[in-house]
């Protein structure tokens, strides 16, 4: 009884407060009295009545309070205002019953709409999180990234060196704070199995800058990113739950990372996400050791900053330009040509996927249209069977508006059922979608069930219900109600046929648009994959090493280190070849410089003569699997004091020595006096990605061109990951303080360079197949229905001597005609629309004839297949039975 009392009290909260204050106790007493009197199942009835009473009259009493004009509705018998709601309730009940009467049709409609609404919801949730919703940080518009700019090399977003970052953060006034970041790997040992995790190394203002507060403990204090104080770690929520059992006592505990003890000082809240890393471990970024100044030559860091209130992006840019110029003056050798460039962080994050999301959104809207057309067709077919029902309703006084509303309510109910099922599909689809979206703006299940997405889905349901329902509804009520009531009333099939053919045409046109879009991305992807990378990617491990400039001053020390490392690695039995390169292939890391070609006349129309320098060790070309086309590779004998040599790539050879061999010719950098002799030509290697053009590249031996950061490539015939400990051991033996960055197999590097393309292609292919299936089902449905309507006619023709095959041909011909018209419209439309896809295509034009032709053929084939079944059925009609009918 006590539980009932509190439950009823809770229920009474639906009543307006004043009513509750005045009469609440008495209402409760009255309810408890009836409950006490009731026994067994009667108690349940009391409860049901009480709930409905409170819902109806409690909420009604709220309306009494604000709506003075409706006040009388509390006791006047014939409520004037309630009519609409009452009939709506009637319509709803009727709609649900109507669905139950035709379960198969209703199921098909609901499923069709579920697929379309689910796809729309999933893609919209991505569009919402990435493009509409602000980033999940406080005041995200004031967040920026600061890059190193090398205007002469055409590079605006180079990684930043430690020294530059420190100088910027000390002098720049435009920012309230600035933080550097890089991603490393950490071996977590001790608690549980040893495991490798990505770890973000961040300078101490990082969390404060993004205004991410810890859930437990604290984040880094100023000064904790200095050598000696840096053995502290902040845990992400995920790793804290998985590896540390969500234990709050983890704070203060020591964990082993890369063999060193780190004290856990904080845990981040669930859902904390960061712009360029998915790391779950955060350690202070130590920018320099005590005995050496920060490096200006090793560029490894991303830099985030927050604009001071009132400072615009432009102001920050001009201030950073000035600081860049000052640094250039202070360090003429190291900073020459290096400036800095400020970009908006939200744009950095969402920019790369924006166009793809727009294309995907267009694709799912098309799917919704196709689904609506299918549903319209189905309902039109159903409408034929309901003409009598509608006529009877009209005859006993239902107005057209009333009938129309009833049909639309039926559609809305099915659409909402479809939307509910669609939400479940969306949860699944969004997982597929999310993988390539930036971690900070990645939709998940919780996004699907957030208010804006639910509202969007509801709106989709209403729109879909209206779109699909309005034609059939109009069709049903348009007719003279007397007509269907007459015995053998003729159905107005001619009008219906034209309408339905129009729908087939629209459906085929929309589907062909989607297929062309998917086909183009598929062909692009194939083209990309078929591009030669210029290297081999299998059985190769890569990792990056940065030498601190202070300890490896001059080319001598660095060259010695590289030679030693190369020799040690090559001596390992598991390693077949090992070599280093300043800029690894397929990663987008690059820089370029002006060069002078000896004896080359530069015409007025020629662009600037530039080449992208690639500094490599002597065995790199072999280790990476690149090919020497002519001449020779680098040799251990190419040392600082010997002849200065260079290797050019195919593109450079063709561009700067057209029709001649560059071997033996000389080249120098614009800003250097040293001439280098070309000793070889190397096959083009893709550095920006398989889909990026190759530029003139000038390979230089690391012995003759000092460089401080190199990516090493190790070739093996076994598992490349097994080389990691070997590489770590040798590096540690040469220099105990040198961490390995970006440890990946070359296959991972290659896959990563095409993964976004693959993602776009997969999603579009998935949507195109969905559209094709829906369209095929739609065409089949319409043709089957038209054949069934024409059974008597076909019967007459067969009796009069028409051949069954000619009947079949006619049906096939009609279907093919509609599909053909739709195809022509669709392909024509694609010529206009696909221009918007140009930026995400590669190697083919949006008007690619092969794509258009194969879409035409395959769509026609599917359409004919869908028509063939009803056509064959028409051929087999028994004339006697048909005439009797």
């Amino acid at each position: 009884m006590k539980a009932s009392r509190s439950l009823y009290r809770l229920l009474l909260r639906l009543c307006p407060p004043d009513l509750r204050r005045e009469f609440g106790d008495e209402m409760e007493a009255l309810f408890l009295q009836s409950l006490e009197r009731a026994r067994g199942t009667a108690r349940l009835r009391v409860w049901v009545r009480a709930v409905s009473d409170v819902f109806r009259h409690g909420l009604g009493a709220r309306r009494d309070t604000w709506d003075k004009f409706r006040k009388t509705s509390a006791y006047v018998e014939y409520e004037t205002g309630g009519w609409w709601m009452d009939t709506l309730r009637y319509d709803l009940r009727h709609a649900i019953r109507a669905m139950g009467r035709q379960p198969v049709t209703s199921l098909i409609v609901v499923m069709t709409l579920a697929l379309a609404i689910g796809a729309n919801t999933a893609v919209f949730s991505a569009v919402h999180t990435v493009l509409i919703r602000p980033l999940p940080y406080d005041a995200p518009d004031s967040l920026v990234m600061v890059w190193e700019k090398r205007e002469a090399e055409g590079v605006m977003n180079n990684s930043v060196s430690a020294a530059d970052y420190l100088d910027w953060s000390r002098t720049a006034q435009s920012f309230s704070s600035m933080a550097a970041f890089t991603e490393v790997t950490a071996d977590l040992t001790g608690a549980g199995d040893p495991e490798k995790f990505p770890m973000a190394a961040v300078s101490s203002p990082f969390f404060d800058l993004l205004r991410v507060r810890p859930m437990l403990g604290r984040t880094f204090a100023p000064g904790e990113d200095l050598f000696g104080r840096n053995r502290v770690v902040v845990l992400g929520h995920g790793i804290w739950r998985q590896r540390f059992g969500g234990d709050a006592a983890v704070i203060g505990r020591s964990i082993m990372l890369n063999g060193n003890p780190y004290q856990v000082i904080g845990v981040l809240p669930a859902g904390a996400a960061f712009p360029h890393t998915e790391a779950q471990l955060f350690a202070p970024l130590v920018l320099f050791a005590p005995d050496e100044p920060p490096s200006r030559t090793s560029h490894n860091f991303g830099v985030y900053a927050r604009l001071r209130p009132g400072v615009s992006l432009e102001q920050a840019r001009s201030e950073m330009d000035r600081i860049g110029k000052d640094l250039e003056k202070t360090y003429p050798q190291l900073s020459r040509g290096h400036g800095s460039y400020v970009t908006s962080l939200p744009e950095e994050i969402t920019g790369p996927v924006e166009r793809t999301l727009v294309v995907l959104m267009a694709a799912v809207v098309f799917i919704l249209l196709i689904a609506c057309i299918n549903v319209t067709n189905l309902l039109l077919a159903k409408a034929a069977g309901r003409r009598r029902e509608m006529a009877v309703r009209a005859a006993i006084g239902a107005g057209r508006a009333r009938l129309m509303r009833q049909v639309l309510v039926e559609c809305a109910v099915m659409a909402i059922a479809g939307g509910a099922a669609g939400l479940l599909l969306a949860v699944w689809t969004v997982r597929l979608l999310a993988s390539q979206l930036p971690a900070v703006a990645r939709p998940d299940q919780t996004v699907i069930f957030s208010t804006p997405i639910l509202l969007f889905t509801l709106a989709m349901c209403v729109v879909a219900g209206l779109m699909a329902g309005v034609l059939p509804a109009w069709h049903m009520v348009r007719e003279d109600p007397a007509e269907p009531l007459k015995e053998g009333g003729r159905s107005p099939a001619s009008m219906k046929k034209a309408l339905r053919f129009g729908l087939i045409i629209a459906e085929v046109a929309l589907t062909s648009l989607l297929l062309v879009g998917a086909g183009l991305t598929l062909r692009s992807f194939q083209t990309v994959l078929s591009q030669p990378a210029g290297i081999e990617t299998d059985h190769r491990l890569t990792f990056r090493l940065g030498l601190p400039g202070a300890r490896y001053r001059g080319s001598e020390a660095a060259a010695r280190f590289y030679a030693e490392l190369e020799a040690r690695l090559a001596a390992e039995p598991m390693i077949q070849a090992a070599g280093g390169t300043m800029l690894p292939p397929l990663t987008g890391l690059d820089g370029r410089r002006g060069v002078v070609i000896e004896n080359r006349e530069v015409g007025p129309d020629d662009g600037p003569t530039r080449a992208h320098p690639r500094v490599v060790t002597s065995n790199y070309i072999q280790a990476a699997g690149a090919t020497i086309r002519e001449g020779r590779g680098f040799l251990p004998t190419d040392i600082e004091s010997s002849l200065q040599v260079a290797i050019v790539n195919d593109t450079m050879a063709k561009r700067y020595w057209p029709g001649a061999s560059p071997l033996g010719k000389r080249v120098r950098f614009t800003d250097q006096e040293i001439w280098r002799e070309v000793v070889g030509i190397i096959g083009d290697v893709k550095h920006w990605g398989l889909d990026a053009p190759v530029n003139p590249e000038l390979y230089l031996p690391s012995t003759q061109f000092p460089t401080f950061a190199m990516t090493w490539v190790l070739k093996t015939n076994g598992d490349p990951l097994a080389l990691i400990p070997i590489a770590q051991r040798h590096v540690r033996e040469l220099d105990a303080n040198l961490p390995l960055f970006q440890v990946r197999t070359m296959e991972e590097v290659a896959a990563k360079s095409v993964e976004r393309r693959k993602w776009t292609m997969t999603l579009l292919a998935y949507f195109a197949v969905l559209a094709l299936v829906l369209a095929a089902a739609g065409i089949y449905g319409v043709m089957a229905h038209l054949v069934s309507l024409r059974v008597p006619e076909i019967g007459v023709r067969l009796t009069l001597g028409a051949k069954p095959s000619s009947v079949m041909r006619q049906i096939l011909g009609e279907g093919a005609m509609q599909a053909g018209i739709g195809l022509v419209i669709g392909l024509g439309g694609s010529l206009a629309l696909m221009r918007g896809m140009r930026t995400i295509l590669f190697g083919i034009e949006p008007t690619d004839p092969i794509t258009l032709a194969s879409v035409g053929v395959s769509l026609m084939f599917v359409a004919l297949l869908a028509v063939a079944i009803p056509a064959v059925r028409a051929m087999r009609i028994d004339p006697i039975a048909a005439l009797r009918q």
Partner: protein, 117 residues
């Protein structure tokens, strides 16, 4: 008179339940509980829904069809109870509704119908 008529015409026709409440109060002032008890006795069973009943009571009071009345001090010493009585307007509305029902009953068509049984 016409003005007065317009004033209570807008309450008509009354829900049977509302008419019941007004008729009960025509016997004299009553508090909520007594009203419910009497209504239940007339009606048999507990068909009265709490929220509906008190919502109606409040609306009737707000519209001036019934009034709050002072209770008898000696009836229930401790418990403060809210008494209601029929207002002049309420009485007029109730009378108009009864007349409307009467007119319906004396309709010759109704007589024919009743006779036919």
């Amino acid at each position: 008179m016409t003005q007065d008529r317009a004033r209570f015409d807008r309450f008509l026709p009354l829900k049977p339940f509302v008419l019941d409440v007004l008729l009960e109060l025509a016997d004299g002032k009553k508090h909520g509980w007594a009203l419910i008890r009497d209504l239940q006795q007339r009606d048999g069973g507990d068909r009265i829904l709490p929220t509906n009943f008190y919502r109606t009571l409040r609306a009737l009071r707000d519209d001036g069809l019934i009034e709050e009345a002072r209770g008898d001090a000696n009836e229930d010493g401790v418990e403060r109870r809210q008494y209601f009585s029929l207002s002049t307007l309420g009485a007029k509305v109730a009378r108009a509704e009864v007349k409307r029902l009467e007119a319906l009953v004396v309709d010759p068509r109704v007589r024919r119908l009743v006779k036919a049984r």
